[in-house]
Symmetry: C2
Subunit: 227 residues, 2 copies
């Protein structure tokens, strides 16, 4: 009765699964409108697709409540995440893409490449663990290490941390951050912070900076010992 995973997923289905994966990262199940906003679709379109996908066993739908990926759905989603991140890494490493331009290219290619090509790229790259934004790359078998980093907004004043991950795919934000040296690997000290979601004063690799709260919240850092 359970659908065996032989049937190929359409581009749309792959997008839905990946979206639901991202929206469920914090554990709660994803709502129809939430998915609709993420994919820039109307909510009724999502209801319809969600119905089809639960019938296929790719997700669990409790009407009026929300959806969660099944094991099968999660496997398919992680496969897309791996593809996307390997592609981004390869395009930056070998084909002169920058981290602010690579997202949309990978977004299209992830639906078209074969598993073989992805594994060849991964091999050429030495099986990287993270992509250019610091996002972890799932293994080919579907396991992923979501490391626990601290948003820069929660780093205590005076503490010095290493920037590990930049949690956005908006080209303009990424460009701005890159111009200010805020890339994975940067050493950042929080010199001061204004209240009420105010700007942070930073020292970035020896240079003083002021950074808005919204952007700072996207910067995930490894603190010296705190876990």
């Amino acid at each position: 009765m359970t659908a065996t995973h032989a049937e190929t997923l359409t581009r749309s289905v792959e997008d839905y699964l990946k979206a639901i994966y991202h929206l469920s990262l914090d554990g709660h199940s994803a709502g129809t409108t939430e998915i609709a906003n993420f994919l820039e679709l109307a909510p009724p379109s999502v209801t319809g697709m969600v119905k089809r996908l639960s019938e296929q066993g790719l997700l669990e739908h409790v009407p009026y409540k929300g959806v969660q990926l099944t094991t099968q759905g999660r496997r398919a989603a992680l496969r897309m995440v791996r593809r996307h991140r390997i592609l981004e890494t390869y395009l930056v490493a070998y084909l002169h893409f920058t981290w602010d331009t690579v997202h949309e290219e990978a977004e299209r290619l992830e639906h078209a490449v074969s598993d073989t090509l992805i594994e060849r790229m991964a091999l050429a790259l030495g099986n990287p663990r993270v992509d250019p934004h610091g996002d972890p790359i799932p293994d080919a078998d579907g396991s992923i290490a979501e490391l626990l980093y601290t948003p820069l907004t929660e780093v205590p004043e005076g503490e010095s941390v290493e920037l590990r991950r930049v949690d956005t795919s908006h080209a303009d934000r990424l460009r701005y951050l890159a111009e200010h040296g805020l890339r994975p690997g940067a050493r950042v000290t929080v010199a001061g912070r204004e209240p009420f979601h105010g700007p942070l004063s930073l020292d970035v690799d020896g240079t003083g900076q002021v950074l808005g709260y919204e952007l700072a919240a996207l910067l995930l850092c490894a603190r010296p010992e705190a876990r």
Copy 2:
């Protein structure tokens, strides 16, 4: 009134245009059934699409006669041919694909890559003129040099030629040919030929071979001086 080329073409449309381009290489206009066979579709599906494409100005359709690409349609088709051949060349050069496995990968990717990525690949390859099968690669501006080669079946006995192009994308044929050293660049002498589409006796880079007529017809050669 003429459609400006702003609107993006669907995957299907790109496939139709490319198919019609290939089928029209010999000058005659392509028939519905011919296109249907090439794309593995039913003839009525082709009639319908052809109607839409002529309305869009991508091709000229004379009902019950056949179709031809318009200038606009040819431009779009050549863009796809360029993409396909650059991709094949890149995948073989950098990602360990062999000429018998690369076709289907390129067939999917050609619809997903950006112009930017294709030009980066072309640059990395040094702007190659031909792909791994010896097929000419159109320029970015859409000009293509279809060189006049002679099928091996028409090379006179005793003549020695250079194999330049292998005109098939069937993986099994390509594998067989590769195993027998029959790749672009090989030096081939026609030692003998049997009548009635019989096999050819060849000397391939110093090794004796017998090759069936059907395969020999796919091997396009540069003759010493003949044109």
